[in-house]
Amino acid sequence: MTKLLDAPERPTRTGGRGRGGPTGQAPRAGVVRSIRNLLTSPKYGPVTVTAVLFVAIFIIGGVRYRGFFSGQVLLNLFVDNAYLIVLAVGMTFVILTGGIDLSVGAVVALSGMIAASLLQTGWSPAAVIPLILVLTSVLGLLVGLMIHIFKVQPFIATLAAMFLARGLCYVISQSSISITDATFVQLAVARIPLGGNMSITPSVIIAVVAVAIAVWVLHATRFGRTVYAIGGSEQSGLLMGLPVARTKVLVYVISGFCSGLAGVLFTFYTLSGYPLTAIGTELDAIAAVVIGGTLLTGGYGFVLGSVLGVLVLGVIQTIITFEGTLSSWWTKIFIGALLLVFIILQKVLTARRR
């Protein structure tokens, strides 16, 4: 038992030895120290590691496979994962406040079902898309109110929302509905050339705009500062007179909106609605956010980190595709392993600082 009790301190100690101890070589070089400070900071450490990891995996891919080192492979990471980036943006807001949203995968599926069924009955895309965004935002609002007013744990409230959304999918239709609407098809096949045989899809632009807005909101507005403050300590936020209640509810509205938008982008990608799609996507989104360096207890993290997290997941998928002999279920195992590594890393980093 005593052995077990000692265990959690061990990573800290070995870590300390590894970097030469607090006294030894520390003052020798300013660069070494600043790199060490960067890596052990709970704010920048995990993001930096993720960035290094992403570059490393990309280089490994480039060395191993012909044709991997191309701009289009990199751009395809964005093309294939545009919806996941948008989801991760919403999830980042929620996790920054210390919450979690398990409903996003189901809401993506629901958005697809709504879009497919309404377009089938002849609705105009100009009406369908705003309607989806409003509906999913309202769902987020209800979840947020449930969490704030009735003190239901975020985990359970979003679980209920997940059941609701997934159930509504089946109510709309049990089978796949394909989309033949001209605008949607056009958006699905459209490529925006970037020169040199490279191109992206309109979805990528929407995702990038969403990321840009999220970065601006988090770092340049009072709302953003309140989000970080709640994650740091909700109690302190309240004592400082910050609008904690409003912010906490709004964060779930944002996540709902992002899920709806991601659902629309996902529909552009698949051109159909199917009640069983996107099962487990909430886990991909959470994994991306965590791998991107956002602390699960809230307070630390960046939207751009989450984007990096999505890219890491994407590049693993690409490598598995290039490898050809590896089965697709290896992706899940890799994601699980990566998640583990990054959570332990977060533990070690935050433990050192304390």
Partner: protein, 348 residues
């Protein structure tokens, strides 16, 4: 009279049982033969038997989940563990020359259960030793576990023809479905061990304050290990029943969403997700409520696919009823009522 009523309402099992009774009543109206249990070919038949049999896997997992939640944890990996257990058992039976041999089946089941112990210990290690939040620690196995199950089945749905194994899911013993007997044994064992020894109190103390209980001499870490291992063990049993039921191991769909059903059963039963207090009897009622709800949806003639919407409604209602805000509002309402009643007496 009102004091008795107040005590009844205050009981944590009150609302779950009311819900169960409401569901029973709806069923009875829609289908008058609901409570009829007949003995046919020495087997018990009837809606109630069906509810018990189909609800057995959820109940078994929910028992393990209750103990995990009592330590302020959560185990999201149970569905994946169930899938792995099914995959392991089926691949062993398929690999042997005689899948119908009881010895083969026994080996397959034993290996599957042993592997679940390893998986549970892994969860316990992440939570107790590395100190990772339970929801995230078990998320890892939830994500990777289905991949592992796929690896074991090589992406196929393994269909196995083994009467002794199939009996696990659809067989009868003394007229009672074997799945129900297994569930009863798991439930009774958990209840006896945690309630007739101090173990249950230790589990609750860890849930209330792990650090304080450790300082008071409770082996918090060891307990967490035990609890997560037990949960995975329960998940494996449920996985074997589910697999035996269809006689096929499907890595993608075995136990899909069952972690949510199990958590739901625990929450409906009145165990707080904040940890510290748990009631296994509540979990039993909760599991019955969920399974009865599913049956009700069928008997009333609502398309079965809408079940999830109803489950969502039930979770929401239960959460709102259990919420401190509701309790406050209700007690305020009651106070105002009594004030008004007092005034009425004074003026008359």
């Amino acid at each position: 009279m009102s004091a008795l009523l107040a005590r009844l309402i205050a009981n944590r099992l009150f609302w779950p049982i009311v819900m169960l009774l409401v569901l029973f009543t709806i069923n009875l109206i829609a289908f008058p033969g609901f409570f009829t249990v007949t003995l046919r070919d020495g087997h018990l038949f009837g809606s109630l038997v069906d509810i018990l049999r189909n609800g057995a896997p959820t109940l078994i997992i929910a028992v393990g989940m209750t103990l995990v939640i009592a330590t302020r944890g959560i185990d999201l990996s149970v569905g994946a563990v169930a899938a792995i257990a099914g995959a392991v058992a089926c691949s062993i039976m398929l690999g042997s020359p005689d899948p119908g041999n009881p010895a083969t089946v026994a080996v397959a089941i034993t290996v599957a259960l042993l592997i679940s112990l390893v998986l549970g210990a892994w969860n316990g290690f992440l939570v107790a030793v590395l100190g990772i939040q339970p929801i995230i620690a078990t998320l890892i196995l939830m994500t990777a576990g289905r991949g592992v199950a796929m690896l074991i089945t090589e992406g196929q749905i393994l269909t196995v023809n083994s009467p002794p194994f199939k009996a696990l899911g659809s067989g009868f013993w003394f007229g009672v479905p074997i799945a129900v007997i297994i569930a009863a044994v798991v439930f009774a064992a958990a209840a006896l061990i945690t309630r007739r020894t101090a173990l249950g109190m230790f589990i609750e103390s860890v849930g209330i304050n792990p650090e304080a209980s450790r300082q008071a001499g409770v082996r918090a870490r060891g307990l967490l290990f035990v609890v997560y291992t037990f949960s995975a063990f329960c998940a494996a049993i449920a996985g074997l029943i589910l697999t035996a039921n269809t006689a096929a191991a499907d890595a993608n769909n075995t136990g899909l969403f069952i972690e949510l059903d199990a958590i739901l059963a625990v929450v409906i039963g009145g165990t707080s997700l904040a940890g510290g207090r748990y009631t296994l009897a509540g979990t039993l009622v909760g599991a019955l409520v969920i399974q009865t709800l599913v049956t009700t949806v069928y008997t009333v003639g609502i398309p079965p696919i809408a079940t999830m919407v109803f489950k969502a409604a039930v979770v929401t209602v239960v959460c709102l009823l259990q919420s401190p805000t509701t309790a406050e509002a209700l007690s305020g309402f009651r106070r105002r009522l009594s004030v008004r009643a007092g005034k009425g007496v004074a003026t008359s």
